[in-house]
């Protein structure tokens, strides 16, 4: 799957201001520009952890769809997401996320991701996620 196919943003991604910067192999890079409505601490102007959560989740999902074994018609759902916050994101700077799907098994995809600002070695947060594959992509009759 290439960058153009992925670029279709979910409404929540759009509301946060996410964009897909690049897809190189199994690695997706996503950017979120700093914005006032993303602030989590009015005293410091630091963006909320939830923004980082949403971006890590979205980038991780994209990384699954970048994997060479991904089949376009497959549905998928986040099973779990674990995030470690290393340091607050500095105000007024873009947030970057790089995600890699390191294993796409029959039913589950495993993804690790890192959030950073200027330097990928100076991490804001890291995450690991598991996605269930082959989930329905149309509304279920019983729900």
């Amino acid at each position: 799957m290439n960058k153009d196919d992925l670029e279709h943003l979910p409404p929540h991604g759009e509301a946060i201001g996410m964009s897909l910067v690049s897809v190189v192999g199994r690695v997706c890079t996503v950017k979120v520009p700093y914005a006032e409505h993303l602030v989590g601490d009015p005293d410091t102007g630091i963006i909320h952890g939830g923004v980082i959560t949403a971006t890590l989740d979205n980038a991780s999902g994209w990384a699954v769809r970048c994997h060479e074994d991904w089949a376009t018609e497959m549905g998928m759902a986040t099973l779990d997401l674990r995030i470690d916050y290393m340091r607050p994101a500095e105000p007024f700077k873009d947030l970057m996320v790089q995600a890699e799907c390191y294993k796409l098994a029959k039913n589950i995809a495993f993804v690790r991701a890192v959030a950073y600002q200027d330097d990928i070695e100076d991490q804001v947060a890291t995450s690991v996620a598991a996605f269930m594959l082959g989930t329905p992509n149309t509304p279920r009759a019983d729900s």
């Binding site: 409404p11 929540h12 601490d41 009015p42 995030i83």
Partner: protein
């Protein structure tokens, strides 16, 4: 003026709705809090900008994660007097059911509170409290007053 200090000075230290209103990101999500006695429930009314999957449609996993985290932090601040907003150290989220395009409710419990770190569990649900759509547990760094 620091927001928590300001609320304390105004005698509204437990006014979690006022606190949410001061957090731009919580306003952006549209999050609210309801208090009954000493119990608080957070509410995330549905709106289109929360959608992550337009086919189902389902609420974005990131919005669910953010709601769980804010629910945990609000409970923590309701239970504890802090100098600054708690910092999330880590959070682990289990996605249990897809989030339908309706209102979501949240409850959290502080499972352990140390001097510097608190452990908090949160659960969110839609139609039935016994059928949560997601759960989280996390660690938060505190700055007690």
């Amino acid at each position: 003026m620091k927001i928590l200090q300001q609320l304390r000075d105004e005698g509204r230290a437990d006014d979690m709705q006022a606190l949410l209103a001061s957090i731009p990101y919580a306003r952006f999500l549209g999050m609210q809090v309801e208090r009954k006695g000493n119990e608080i429930t957070t509410i995330l009314p549905f709106k289109d900008s929360l959608v992550g999957n337009v086919n189902l449609p389902a609420i974005h996993g990131g919005a669910i994660g953010a709601f769980l985290e804010l629910t945990s932090v609000i409970q923590l601040l309701f239970d504890t007097s802090c100098e600054r907003l708690p910092k999330t150290v880590d959070i682990s989220i289990d996605y249990l059911r897809s989030g339908k395009p309706v209102a979501t409710y949240g409850r959290a419990i502080v499972t352990r509170q140390g001097r510097r770190v608190a452990n908090v569990r949160a659960e969110i649900w839609q139609d039935e409290k016994t059928r949560p759509i997601a759960a989280a547990h996390g660690h938060y760094l505190l700055t007690p007053v």
